[in-house]
Amino acid sequence: MTDTQLARIKVAVLSFAHGHAIGYLRYLKSRGDVELIACDPDGLRSPDAGPRGRELADQLDVTYLESVEEALDWGPDAVVVCSENVKHRALVEQAAAAGAQILCEKPLATTAADAAAMLEAVEQAGVALMVAYPVRFSPSFVDLKAQVRAGRLGKVLAVMGTNNGQIPLSDRSWFTDPALSGGGCFVDHIVHCADLLD
């Protein structure tokens, strides 16, 4: 089967602020059923050591547009929001208004009020909003959950979870700025463990 025989969906990656944008771009690019574009309007102004904006898109051979407006005018079926955490709300609201299905990097928002507003926006627009919690899809967690559900552990008495990594100081340093991230490793890493517990 060739690419043209597949139903292609149009996906736009909005912002490269989160390093996971690179992974999304590579994966989506590798699929035959996706038409992909990306934009990173704040990329040039960010103090990152790593490439951002058009330079990164060119490296990954992805079509680049200059602004979020242009990206949404392109009519994507779905978007992936990879901005700094505090900017999630604005991008999700814009994408919802444009009728796109949305995958948003975690944490969904930096305040409960922002999160509630985002939910209201997608409900009104009738689009889906999904938070990127990839650990839920890891084979070991899927297996663990199945074993717990099957009662093999009995009643769960206690759980310990850790999520450790190198602090992003030179590359993607916004993670360490509460004004942009909402609170460092608490919101960036603990959310995964908290989500799995839930």
């Binding site: 009995g154 008495l157 206690a158 310990m160 850790t162 450790n164």
Partner: protein, 337 residues
């Protein structure tokens, strides 16, 4: 070096981890026990005696391996007879017990040490040394876990006798955390299932969080689990220049799948290729008792470990973090004996 004369009290779970090592150090060993003394004596070539008085007549060093609640009375008897004492952890059932023992030891000018054997486990000793040498920089987060099938004897599950899992088992890692990361200023703990009317549940997990004066945080998990649960300990110690990790389940040399319906592993840690840490511990104590260097664990360490366990229990009872100050714990206080 003159021949060491050791008098062991108690022939329960931990005694087989002491007796052969005293013998390996060339000591003459007597044992006094309410039950099991005959068998222990026969197995390791000890001399069984019929009373505490008799034991105190034949020993220079008294090794207390009895249930926790008896430590105070037995230690005071040994100190009163002028003996050097090694006392299984915890040093006392309460901080008061531990301080009374310490005060008596100082007044009588005899050496008394708590047996915090984890300080002698090669992996834990190596971690401590690497931290002391600054190899991982300033400590940030320390994680310790210790768990497996719960102890078999009933007295462990009577809080009045044992102090429960925190005082009996987690005291090892409370001591490790403080030994490695320094003074503790705050203690927070949670427990599931809860202890009700002094009955410690058979399946119990406790998480303790210590905040150290330096700002470092220690997280400690202790488990007394169901029959057959493998015993496992681990640490993960992170500084601003590196991380040190150990997991006993990953370091075994023999993969085991013996298909026994009750694979009940021992409450005590498995053997390793290294010298037994119990032997290392007893050698260091024996040398101190015979005028050698001060051992790596002190009487005050024993008192503070009990105090940390009590603070964790207080935190569980109140649901709040408990402020901690070692100097207040150690401050001289008169106890009515």
């Amino acid at each position: 070096m003159p021949k060491l004369r050791v008098g062991m009290i108690g022939a329960g779970g931990v005694s087989p981890s002491h007796a052969p090592h005293w013998r390996a150090l060339g000591a003459d060993v007597s044992v006094y026990a309410l039950t099991g003394g005959e068998e222990l004596a026969g197995r390791y070539g000890l001399k069984k005696v019929g009373s505490l008085d008799q034991l105190l007549l034949t020993a220079d060093v008294v090794d207390i391996c009895t249930p926790t609640v008896t430590h105070r009375e037995l230690a005071l008897a040994a100190i009163g007879a002028g003996k050097s004492v090694l006392c299984e952890k915890p040093l006392g059932r309460t901080v008061e017990d531990a301080k009374v023992i310490a005060a008596a030891a100082r007044a009588a000018h005899v050496q008394v040490y708590p047996a915090h054997v984890v300080r002698f486990f090669p992996e834990y000793a190596a971690m401590h040394e690497a931290v002391e040498q600054g190899k991982i920089g300033a400590l940030a987060v320390l994680r310790f876990s210790r768990g497996g099938e719960g102890a078999t004897s009933d007295w462990f599950y009577d809080e009045a006798q044992s102090g429960g899992i925190i005082l009996d088992q987690m005291i090892h890692d409370l001591d490790q955390a403080r030994w490695t990361a320094g003074d503790v200023v705050q203690v927070f703990a949670v427990q599931n299932h809860p202890t009700v009317h002094g009955n410690v549940p058979r399946n119990v997990v406790v998480h303790v969080t210590l905040t150290h004066l330096s700002g470092a945080i220690s997280h400690i998990q202790g488990i007394w689990g169901p029959r057959g649960m493998d015993f496992r300990t681990s640490f993960d110690v992170a500084g601003d220049a590196g991380v040190l990790r150990f997991d006993s389940s990953a370091s075994g040399t023999v993969a085991e799948n013996l298909c026994t319906p009750e694979s009940g592993s021992s409450y005590l840690p498995p053997d390793s290729a290294e010298e037994s840490p119990y032997l290392t511990q007893l050698r260091e104590m024996a040398q101190a008792f015979q005028g050698g260097p001060t051992p790596r664990v002190s009487l005050d360490d024993g008192i503070i470990a009990v105090a940390l366990a009590e603070a964790a229990q207080a935190s569980i009872a109140t649901g709040s973090a408990v402020e901690f100050d070692a100097s207040t714990v150690l401050a001289v206080k008169e106890y009515a004996l």
